[in-house]
Symmetry: C2
Subunit: 112 residues, 2 copies
């Protein structure tokens, strides 16, 4: 399996967890540290730290250093890669539906 496919695996799977989706939502408003990301959730910092590692491995976030802190930053290009993948197949399906509608319409007109 290609590297790109592997990243899609990780990225989609990462978004399959509500805690990680909430972190993405938070990060869209600006960088945040582990502690800041942990605040809304009733789980340990260690668990949050691992969620962050999952998001990083998926390429959805990057991390910088600020003293002791390791702020997380969203990577919009990674999100864009996901929407591109989805849209390719969604748009193809919608085109197919439109073609089918056109056929049904012409059949209907024939019958009249």
């Amino acid at each position: 399996m290609s590297v790109a496919e592997d990243q899609l695996d990780r990225a989609f799977a990462a978004l399959g967890d509500p805690v990680r989706r909430a972190m993405i939502a938070r990060l869209s408003r600006g960088p945040a540290t582990v502690n800041e990301l942990a605040e809304p959730f009733p789980i340990t910092k260690q668990a949050v730290s691992r969620h962050i590692q999952v998001l990083e491995a998926a390429g959805l976030i990057t991390r910088t250093r600020d003293g002791q802190r390791r702020p997380c930053h969203l990577v919009p290009a990674a999100l864009e890669a996901l929407t591109s993948w989805i849209d390719e197949y969604r748009l193809e399906t919608e085109r197919r539906f439109r073609r089918l509608d056109a056929v049904l319409q012409s059949v209907k007109e024939q019958e009249q």
Copy 2:
């Protein structure tokens, strides 16, 4: 957790598997039965049947009946819900980046 959130969980997690993504790609070109979807993969029909159940539970496909066969159909609206979710946060992040760029630019101009 809301029903909608739950569907996002299932849908993103469903796309986290390469077999299921390949099935989505196949279904974008038209309906297919379990046997047809199973053909490209070196796994049993039972395993394929369960992948299909996962996609159906996620709302990504629906199934009809054609005699013994149970053709699968892609649901473009479900895919659209995923891109909407992603785009909300991607676009917010990009707007934030542009604001930051503007600030940096004005600082640079001040210095000159």
